[in-house]
């Protein structure tokens, strides 16, 4: 797949650069924007960002490897981040993650992000999502689900499946 940045996206990125006295500062916002567009940060995206900001590629790549939110390969369209930190753990986060894994046919013992073979779902444990008062919480793509119980788990999965169906029919229509 060839790497190309559509003009509106490039304009958005150019605007980001103007927010900082030094271009390098825009690198994190570049990576967020590129990841939102492509689904992950590819080596091409790293090199493109570096060239755009006048950096060596390693200056950008070292950010991708350091910051937990950046990923180097595409993940499932529905990304389920289960908070594992103390308050959520006290409220049953381990069982919650296990339930997601079991329902999606993933290994409940694996402690790394896992994606279903159809590429629809990714489940991972993340650190504190700062919503401890409504534990256990789950961040599904950009949406926070609070006090997630059995019903919540099912709702998250069926919503994920619905969006897959929508995406597929949209893809066929296009």
């Amino acid at each position: 797949m060839s790497f190309s940045i559509p003009a509106p996206l490039e304009a958005e990125l150019d605007e980001l650069v103007t927010r900082y006295p030094q271009k390098r500062s825009a690198s994190l916002m570049f990576l967020h924007t590129l990841q939102e567009h492509f689904g992950y940060v590819s080596p091409e995206a790293v090199e493109w960002t570096a060239a755009k900001l006048g950096l060596a590629p390693i200056n950008v790549f070292e950010l991708v490897t350091f910051y937990p939110m950046f990923r180097q390969e595409p993940l499932g369209r529905t990304h389920i981040k289960v908070c594992r930190t103390l308050s959520c753990s006290l409220a049953g986060a381990a069982d919650l993650r296990k339930k997601f894994c079991e329902k999606l046919g993933l290994d409940p013992k694996a402690h790394v992000p896992q994606t279903t073979t159809d590429g629809n779902f990714t489940v991972e444990f993340v650190e504190c999502l700062a919503a401890c008062g409504s534990a256990p919480v789950v961040l599904v793509n950009d949406t926070l689900w609070e006090k997630v119980d059995g019903t919540g788990t099912d709702a998250i999965l069926s919503e994920g499946k619905r969006s897959e169906t929508r995406a597929r029919s949209a893809g066929m229509a296009g």
């Binding site: 006295p21 910051y67 103390l86 504190c128 950009d142």
Partner: protein
């Protein structure tokens, strides 16, 4: 009767209150900014003249406001350290990287009342001659980032930001910057590195005090979301009125995040020090106690890096009597006023205002294992004692919770923790060491028993079964 006092969260949860500009203006929004800009210069009794900006800075100092991010340092003093003679631009950064486990107060402001934060920031920028400021929002708050961006757009279109704000002759721009899931970005020099587009390795102090050598090696102020909101109220009501809220040396209000084993977890804004730890946990206006039949085993009083308090602990506090004499009183931990100084006197801290309650069904070994895994994951890796030590502690706790512990692990954990604290560039070393030091010291019997049971093959996950796989 202890109750909430909603100053910063006054409107946030009211029906129909929305995060847009029109709603904020309907509720008296940006009036404090107008008041600040109209502040007259004044002459002090000693003949010294204060500019309008100096008057505001003086007000913030006199209000007694202490930083709400974790350190509890005087906001006015922090501002007074800013190098104003360097000729370099001065920057202000709002630390919205809320990531201390247990804390979820800034989330409320960012999502529900973003303009209050922006108004507080504009006032703070104006008072400190800042022309460019950033809001560093943690990556895990994607919706907050959108809300803040929208609010900034609205503020620009209304002339609160941009060139010549409200005809004051002053230019100011505020931009949003997003983190990407790293706890260390909450440390102010790590945050600055991150904002410069680098790995967030904290800087060594001295010489890199942000007030002198911060963002782009320029003087920089880093303030927490709640702190900047408080500035808006200090300007609005005046320092003297603000200082009447709360208690001596612990003025104003604080938003407490309460979670863990309580009936009604949540965020509660209170006058600082007007409610005790026990009231926050048990009172019907707050946590409403534990689940039926349970009792408190321990309390993590100020975010997961604060030292744990064990049920039944008693502390000596100095109190000023009606006659002005200082007396020492001994109190139970539940009777500790929840303020900066009392928690410090109890050997811990109120930190980010996050209380996590642990009931008698919780085993301290399991709890510490969870906390320790967090710090092992979040160590930035720059300093050897922290990078290696945090991981060693987590590994030892992993084996203790997987049937492979040893009785000597308790001392081993203490040994590692003691060799992390004080030996790192930033306070993360302490943040990682303190939970271990306090949990193991206060619950040593539990740690040793778990290890001994594992050695004897009678532990909860041992019992002669093969070791758990990991």
């Amino acid at each position: 009767m202890p109750q909430e006092y909603r100053l910063i969260l006054k409107h946030a949860d009211q029906a129909g209150y929305t995060p847009d500009m029109e709603c904020y203006l309907r509720h008296g929004g940006y009036e404090a900014l107008r008041k600040a800009l109209a502040t007259a210069p004044r002459e002090l009794p000693d003949g010294k003249k204060q500019s309008s900006q100096e008057v505001i800075r003086d007000e913030v100092l006199k209000s007694g406001l202490r930083g709400r991010g974790g350190a509890g340092f005087s906001c006015g003093l922090k501002w007074s350290f800013v190098d104003r003679r360097s000729g370099k631009p001065i920057y202000l950064i709002c630390n919205a990287d809320e990531s201390e486990p247990g804390t979820f107060k800034d989330r409320q402001i960012l999502h529900k009342d973003p303009h209050q934060l922006i108004e507080g920031m504009i006032i703070s920028c104006w008072a400190n001659d800042v022309k460019l400021a950033y809001i560093y929002v943690r990556g895990e708050f994607p919706q907050a980032a959108r809300i803040i961006n929208q609010a900034l757009k609205e503020a620009r279109s209304k002339g609160f930001l941009g060139k010549n704000i409200l005809g004051s002759g002053v230019d100011l721009e505020i931009h949003l910057h997003r983190g990407a899931g790293a706890y260390i970005c909450g440390e102010e020099t790590g945050l600055i590195e991150s904002l410069e587009g680098k790995r967030p390795y904290p800087r060594i102090k001295p010489p890199y005090f942000p007030a002198v050598l911060g963002l782009y090696m320029c003087p920089t102020i880093v303030n927490n979301v709640e702190t900047l909101c408080a500035v808006r109220h200090i300007v609005s009501m005046g320092a003297a009125e603000y200082a009447k809220l709360g208690t001596a040396n612990n003025t104003g209000t604080r938003i407490i995040s309460l979670s863990g084993d309580v009936q009604r977890p949540g965020y509660y804004e209170v006058e600082v020090g007007k409610a005790t730890l026990g009231e926050l946990i048990h009172h019907e206006n707050f946590g409403r106690g534990l689940r039926p039949g349970r009792s408190i085993r321990a309390i993590i009083p100020g975010g997961s890096s604060s030292k744990v308090l064990k049920a039944g602990e008693r502390f000596k506090l100095k109190r000023k009597g009606a006659d002005g004499q200082m007396t020492t009183v001994e109190v139970d931990l539940l009777d500790l006023p929840y303020d900066f100084d009392s928690l410090q006197a109890a050997g811990t801290m109120s930190g980010s205002g996050a209380i996590i309650v642990l009931d008698d069904t919780r085993n301290p070994v399991d709890v510490l294992a969870n906390v320790s895994e967090f710090y092992a994951h979040e160590s930035c890796g720059q300093c050897t004692p922290c990078r290696e030590g945090a991981l060693w502690m987590s590994k030892a706790l992993h084996r203790l919770t997987h049937g492979e512990g040893r009785k000597s692990d308790a001392d081993y954990l203490l040994h590692i923790a003691q060799n992390i604290q004080g030996r790192t560039i930033c306070a993360f070393g302490e943040a990682a060491a303190w939970p271990t030091l306090s949990f193991v010291k206060k619950f040593k019997a539990e740690f040793e028993a778990r290890g001994a049971a594992d050695e004897a093959g009678t532990g909860p996950t041992g019992s002669g079964k093969p070791p758990a796989s990991h």
